[in-house]
């Protein structure tokens, strides 16, 4: 136990307390922290013009991309559970994108969705559709990241597939005897039975949504770099027009580009409060929708 307690104190307990303390200070790593009271929070909530776009972007992602991911993964796993042939092959194909390292996958998508010469717009053009600017357009940058997220739903899909295949057969059979068709069996048997797993996927999705960083950072610096030819990729965070400036990206920029460590700590405290608040809300409200089987089935 002792290494865990040491590690826990050094890498979790102590930082948590220190983050709280630093959030009331001005600190740039060079001089010692200087107490400023609530000034960081006041700036965070009232003055800083970039915080609200960042919060909005992160909430957008959680409200739109995360439910879409769950919905897609569920759809694919239900189709897979009904397939008679080639389940293994299909499962591998749907899982592979989840394995692609995030940086590599993001680079791939920035190229695929390149407005001028990318394959997607080329194909759309041949079909007579003028493709959007994707990662270069403030309206389309987040949907492009959503497409990337949907491509990588493999893990969720595997979890759902196991859950769907675990639904006891006798439940379907009795529903069939009662005259339930395909969709009502899906709605009244499959979904309620696997609802704890769906809840789990939603909670994980929200937590990951709050941390969404790598794809946004890479997409912005790559797409931004290709438009402006700037050598310093850091200047392009949030490209285009702050539409991919997610909250963790802003926190990184404040803390580790500008070295406003005190301010970044205040942002971290807000993130902590929101993470706990959201998880608590979801788990509490889920009691109405989630069906738990009696233990020891």
């Amino acid at each position: 136990m002792s290494p865990w307690i040491v590690g826990f104190t050094v890498f979790f307990g102590y930082p948590l307390v220190t983050t709280a303390y630093l959030s009331f200070t001005h600190y740039d790593l060079l001089s010692s922290p200087h107490w400023v009271g609530l000034a960081n929070y006041r700036y965070l909530f009232t003055t800083d013009q970039t915080v609200w776009p960042a919060v909005r972007n992160t909430l957008w992602f959680i409200a739109i991309a995360v439910p879409l991911q769950v919905f897609f993964a569920l759809g694919i796993s239900i189709m897979l559970s009904r397939a008679r042939r080639g389940v293994g092959v299909f499962r591998t194909i749907f899982y592979l994108p989840a394995l692609a390292p995030p940086v590599a996958a993001t680079l791939g998508f920035v190229y695929l969705l390149n407005p001028a010469t990318g394959p997607v717009n080329t194909i759309l053009g041949k079909l007579g559709i003028e493709g959007p600017l994707w990662f270069d357009s403030p309206q389309w940058a987040k949907p492009s990241l959503t497409l990337l997220a949907l491509w990588g739903i493999g893990n969720t899909m595997i979890i759902f597939l196991a859950a769907v295949l675990d639904v006891p057969r006798h439940l379907y059979e009795s529903a069939e005897l009662d005259g339930a068709g395909y969709f009502s069996r899906l709605w009244y048997v499959t979904l309620p039975t696997i609802s704890p797993v769906i809840l789990f996927a939603v909670v994980i999705g929200v937590i990951e949504g709050l941390q969404y960083f790598t794809q946004a950072y890479v997409a912005a610096s790559v797409a931004g770099g290709s438009a402006s030819y700037s050598a310093e990729s850091a200047n392009s965070l949030g490209y285009p027009e702050d539409s991919t400036l997610f909250y963790p990206v802003l926190l990184y920029q404040q803390g580790f580009r500008y070295f406003n460590m005190g301010y970044a700590s205040a942002m971290a405290m807000l993130l902590l409060a929101v993470a706990f608040g959201l998880t608590f809300l979801i788990v509490r409200n889920s009691r109405r929708f989630v069906h738990y089987q009696a233990p020891g089935r």
């Binding site: 590690g7 499962r91 791939g108 695929l112 790559v222």
Partner: protein
């Protein structure tokens, strides 16, 4: 844990009364619709890989044109990439990071997980709750003080800040291993105790052997996490390029070679390949591990 293919074979094996023709025809139609939809979706999931590989074989001029098929095939891209960026250096750094971090994570997390699963001690319940909370927390919340700590130890600009925390236990791995240890029947442990085994010997002989699949899955996830990690390497080694990992190096590659999409895609393929090869070598551990995270959660 039944995998998808296995349980489907199971349902096909017992003999059923043949349903009437109309019902059979309807079922066949549904099966055909289901399979066509699956094949279409699977093709869409594969297309990004196809385009990435095709582009990696184009000449730099052609990669900027709307043509989709390489003509001629520029195999030398895969040689050129290694001269443009020190990919071997990045790969070595990735191996050092992934190897040492995973080793430390196993050594430190297994005893803690065992203590949480099988030993009754004061505060074990609280310790487990804290583990859960630590798992849910966005890493950004504690990152500022941890960074400051490593900066004071003059370790920023090396791989150590990425490796060291793993030697003090990782919440997610502890949770996963604990869940698996709980499934080991207590009788085995009692039998060992009767034979005069101490808890440490029980852990190293009985538990480790029975938990091999779970440990393999945890090790695999840990290594993959390190391989894919972008935030950590960016934070701690961003300024010292001799310590870049593959993920970080790949992201920077693009800003060095602005318009040479063919080389960028070749580098992308090179970074994706090891993970995909690893997947095919250890497919069972992957799927079981992913399922373990969901079903037991």
């Amino acid at each position: 844990m039944t995998s998808g293919a296995a349980s489907l074979e199971g349902t096909g094996s017992f003999v059923r009364r043949r349903p009437p023709v109309a019902v059979r025809r309807k079922r066949l139609l549904i099966a055909i619709a289901n399979h066509s939809l699956l094949i279409a979706t699977a093709l869409i999931f594969l297309l990004p890989f196809v385009f990435i590989v095709l582009t990696s074989l184009m000449t730099s001029h052609q990669a900027l044109s709307p043509k989709l098929w390489p003509d001629p095939f520029a195999w030398h891209n895969y040689v050129d990439v290694f001269t443009k960026a020190p990919l071997w250096r990045y790969a070595l750094n990735t191996l050092i990071y992934g190897g040492l971090a995973t080793l430390g994570l196993l050594v430190s997390s297994i005893p803690v997980a065992y203590a949480l699963a099988r030993l009754r001690w004061r505060g074990s319940h609280v310790a487990f709750l804290i583990t859960l909370v630590a798992m849910m927390l966005p890493p950004q919340v504690t990152i500022v003080p941890v960074y400051v700590l490593f900066a004071k130890l003059h370790l920023v600009g090396s791989l150590w800040p990425l490796i060291l925390p793993n030697w003090f236990g990782d919440a997610f791995s502890i949770f996963l291993l604990r869940q698996f240890f709980l499934t080991i029947p207590e009788e085995y442990l009692d039998a060992a105790r009767v034979d005069g085994c101490g808890e440490f010997r029980i852990l190293t002989t009985v538990v480790l052997r029975m938990a091999k699949p779970a440990i393999a899955a945890v090790a695999l996830f840990s290594f993959l996490f390190c391989f894919n990690d972008f935030f950590g390497p960016l934070l701690y080694t961003g300024e010292s390029s001799q310590h870049w990992t593959l993920s970080l190096g790949l992201a920077q590659f693009r800003s060095l070679y602005q318009v040479q999409w063919n080389l960028v895609m070749a580098a992308t393929v090179i970074v994706m390949t090891p993970v995909i090869v690893l997947f095919f070598l250890a497919q069972r551990a992957f799927v079981e591990g992913v399922t373990l995270t969901g079903v037991k959660g």
